[in-house]
Structure formats: C-alpha cells, structure tokens
Symmetry: C2
Subunit: 314 residues, 2 copies
C-alpha cells in the first residue's frame, strides 16, 4: 500500500466562463467539483496505475463531506480501485479552491482559500493515525502546503516518523516546511523550479538540484515543467525529457511526477525507469483536457519516447 498525506486538502471547484473580466458579473457555464490537494491528486494517479493507495490528512465541514463523497468516484478506468479514505475529521471546514477557466484560451485564474485552523488535539489525532498507517505502507508521500495551526517543522517530524518505521518517504512541498523537512533526511524531495530556487538561492537547475541533495535528501528530482525532470541520486545524475513540448493544461503535472516516482520506487525500478515513468505521466497529464487526469493512451506511447541522459559527475 502507498500512503499519501495531504494536510491541507481542498475541494477544487472549476468554473468555465467565456472570459474573465475584472469588476464585471459572469454567468458560469460549467461547474466541476473534485477532491483536491496534492496528496489526493497523487493518490488518484497511483490508483489509476493499479496501486493500492490510502489517503490521510484532514477533512471537515460541509466542504469536507463533499470531498469525501467524491473521493471514491472512478475516472472511467476499468477495475479502478479508488484511494481508501483515512482522512482525520476536523472541526473547521475544508478549504475551497476556485479555478476560473477562460473558455476561449484555457487560461486559468486561481483563487485559493487559506484553509481551516487545525487544533493541537486534531494534530495529535492525525499523528496517531499516521503511525498506524505507516505500519502497512510500502512508501509514503507528504504533499502540499501546511494549513494554519500546524508548526513549520511538521513535515520534518513526519519524515522522521517514516524513517523510524522503515518506510521510504517522499516530500513535495516548498518554502520553510521544505527547508526543515529536507534536513530530516527524506528519501526523495520533488521541488519545482521556483521551490528549488527559493531553497538554494540558485536558478541554475543542475547546481541547485545537487545543492538541495547536500542539504539532506537522499535524492532530489526537480520538476522543470516542459523541460522534464532533473534527478540527483546516490546512483548518478540524470535528465529526463519528453520527446516534444506538450501543449495543454499543466494542472496536476507535478503531482503525476510524484505518482510516477513513488510507484516506480515501490516496484524497485532503476532510476532511469523511474524518471521515464514520471515524465511520461506528467506529459500525458498535460495532454489530457481534464485537469489532473492523464491520457492513458498517450502515457503508454510516451514510455518508449522519453529521453533519459546521464549527466557528468560533479
């Protein structure tokens, strides 16, 4: 079983409207609701790849109820086993995110609520649940921002918990939670270009990726959008690129990188194969019109076309 942790889950709402014009009134033509937050997105991709997946984190209020109701819904994949819901209830209401998509261009305007405050008792309840779940986990992913009320070193604590239980742990966050978390020596971190630059002070990907690894992570896979990924690992340094830049909706591509890396890790694939899967999944996600879903046909086809090149040792 693969466990994903989403402390700041969200009910993701997508509105379609011809064009967003500030300070005017818009009639929304289409409303889509989905369970959101990075860890839930990762879990859906893992489930679509056929992996047994459990999600934890927090859900509360009416928005949390809707999120949990939507979690089992299948994305039209035969024999899809949805992620198992091990979310911890909280008193506050799960935040909403609103994405307003311009119908003509596909450009998206995003509005993110801050999320509910998590109480110390709720955090303690989560820690107990996390420890139980680790006992049955082959790997764990810690994903996304921290909600209000949770201390900035929380991910560092969760990394140490996973390592203590002997469970490989991937951390996908940014800012100070990433800085603290990386020092607790996770097996893998997956920053994007901005998170990497903020962590290391360098916009030069190869240099920054190697620097991030020296800060404590056993491996660093930087997701560089249309340029694919760059990985600094104990076995070497690789770059993996899609065969051509994909045009489409990049929402969820980073989460697909995490799902690709994590599934390949538990299948004990060598690094080049892990990176190939991550880039093929991310590219197939961009190619799918629905945010956060991947085009299964494109994924299969891309697996043989992603280019992985080893980089010279430092």
């Amino acid at each position: 079983m693969i466990l994903t942790v989403t402390l700041n889950t969200a009910l993701d709402i997508t509105y379609r409207t011809p064009r967003l014009v500030p300070h005017t009134t818009h009639r929304v033509s289409e409303v889509i609701e989905r369970p959101g937050g990075k860890g839930l997105n990762v879990a859906r991709v893992l489930a679509a790849l056929g992996h047994e997946t459990v999600v934890t984190g927090f859900a509360g209020g009416r928005t949390g109820d809707v999120l949990r109701e939507l979690l089992p819904l299948a994305p039209g994949i035969p024999a899809y086993a949805p992620p198992v819901d091990a979310l911890v209830p909280i008193a506050g209401a799960t935040r909403r995110t609103v994405a307003v998509v311009d119908g003509s261009t596909g450009d998206t305007t995003q509005l993110n609520e801050p999320g509910p405050v998590v109480s110390p008792a709720e955090w303690a309840a989560f820690l107990a649940r996390y420890e139980e779940l680790l006992a049955g986990a082959d790997a764990v992913a810690l994903c996304g921002s921290l909600p209000p009320g949770i201390h900035v070193g929380a991910y560092a604590d969760l990394v140490r918990g996973a390592r203590g239980a002997g469970v490989p742990v991937l951390l996908d966050t940014g800012g100070e939670p990433l800085r603290r978390g990386i020092a607790a020596r996770p097996d893998l971190v997956k920053p994007n270009a901005d998170e990497l630059a903020r962590l290391t002070g360098s916009r030069e990907p190869l240099r920054a990726t190697r620097d991030a690894r020296r800060r404590g992570a056993h491996a660093v896979v930087a997701s560089l959008g249309p340029d694919g990924v760059l990985a600094a690992t104990p076995d070497g340094v690789w770059r993996a690129c899609p065969p051509a830049p994909a045009k489409g909706n990049p929402t969820g591509a980073g989460d697909s990188v995490v799902a690709g890396l994590l599934s390949a890790l538990v299948e004990r694939l060598p690094w080049p194969d892990r990176l190939t899967r991550a880039v093929a999944l991310a590219t197939a996600t961009v190619l799918s019109p629905a945010a956060g879903e991947f085009d299964a046909g494109a994924y299969g086809e891309l697996l043989s076309r992603v280019r992985v090149t080893e980089q010279p040792p430092q």
Copy 2:
C-alpha cells in the same frame, strides 16, 4: 407575516484579495458565506425592521444545508427575529455565487453558478407550500431569476395565486419572466433601469415607468441607483431622491428598496412615505460596509432627508 419567494437561492461567498489579476493565482485573505438570492436578502431587511417574515423557494445539497444553517444568524440587532425557513428541499445542490472584492478599491468581480434543475415534482411541492403560506401572509414578494427547469411563466402563475388569495404581491425580476409576470397584474413591480429598458424599449425613466404600468402592474417603482426611485401608482407619480449621492457598496440596495416598499405597504402608509422608506433603506445599505446590510443609524437619519416630489400627470 410577510412572505418572500426565492426560487433561485444561492450561497453567497465573498473573497477578499489585494487585486484580481486574470490568469494568476490568488491567496484569499478573507472568506465570508451568507444566504443569498434576492428574496432572502429582502427577508433579512424586513426582519431587521421588526417584521415577521417567512422565506420559501428551494434549497438542496450541501450548499443548501449551509444556507439553511446560516439563515437564523442574527446581524447584531437587538431582539432580531430571523426569517422563518419554509424552503422546499430539492435533489440538486443550491448554487454558489462568488464575489471577489479587490481589497484596495472595493471593486467586485462576480461569478454566478447557474443553479440546480428543479424537477416537475419539486415545482408541484413548492406550489402546494406556496398556497399554504399565502393563507397567513399580509404580502408576498417574488424575487430574482428562475432556476433551470422552471417555465418562464412561473411568476405569472404565482402572481395569479396571490391575487386569488387576496394577498398583495410584489414582483422583482427581469427579462421574459417580468414581461409575463406583469401581464398577470401584480400590485407592484420594482424593475431597475436595465430591466425597465429591456421591458419597454425606452431609456427615459418617466416614460418607461408609465409604460410598464400600462402593461398590467397596479404600481411600478423603478430603482435608479444613486438617483433614487421613480414611482407610477394609482395615486400619482413621484420621484424620491437621497439627499446626496451615497458612496459605498451598492450590493443589496435594490433588495432594500423592495423591503422598504413591502413593509410600508403592510403598514398601509401613503405612497410618499413608502418611497421615503425605500430610498432611506437603500441609501443606508450602500453606506454599510457589509454587502446587503444597512446602517441603522444612517437609515433613521435619512428618513427625514429623502426628498419626494410629485411629478405632473401625463
């Protein structure tokens, strides 16, 4: 008791953000949820004026649950008796509206969901409830747009129902539902300038208001924003203006006009006093920083300062 009907209720969500920039991501600093839809807003103002009020219409889904939970909340007014909830449950989920307020300027960008489809059985259940409620009503207001699934002549039917029960009926809607509704001879319609122009083809308020009255309404009160109201009634034609243009948030000012007219109607006040109250309430609503609430102090002070002038007969 005053009855208000809101067929397309909404959960009104207000987001505050420094500035809305299309195609970027915004962290929302403040989230406010309120029961919405014109008839609910009218009912809250009526209740704040001390009138016993009942609300009906439709509510469904988790958003409908939140709306009903928020309905009894008092706006900090002593001895406030909230509107009584006589909403009819439906299978579909009550729509949301999202208002994004720019923190610096107060400019608002509005996103309105279309609303759930109402089934024929749900419409029949509403009609039965409406008939029961009319038996105890001193006046009824029919407010806002029609949700999908309800025929365009619905308001005309509801106007005839009220007239059959001997209950004075006010209609506040636009477009074809107003055109059909007005032909069923309501006691009062309250179009704004745009609705009036669309109905009559004229942008000249006095001419258009008189024309609207000839189409079947016993009285027409056109709300003209900062210019106050213009009323064509069986007793004469009046214009009522605030003492000075009010600067603030005009959201809900039209609903306050309806509440002022309706409360003064059941109190059997003469037309000039009805119009004074309507304009004072609307102006006090613009002056209140919270959308849809009115500044009680300003209201009391404005009552003696609204200017009502009789217009020459045609």
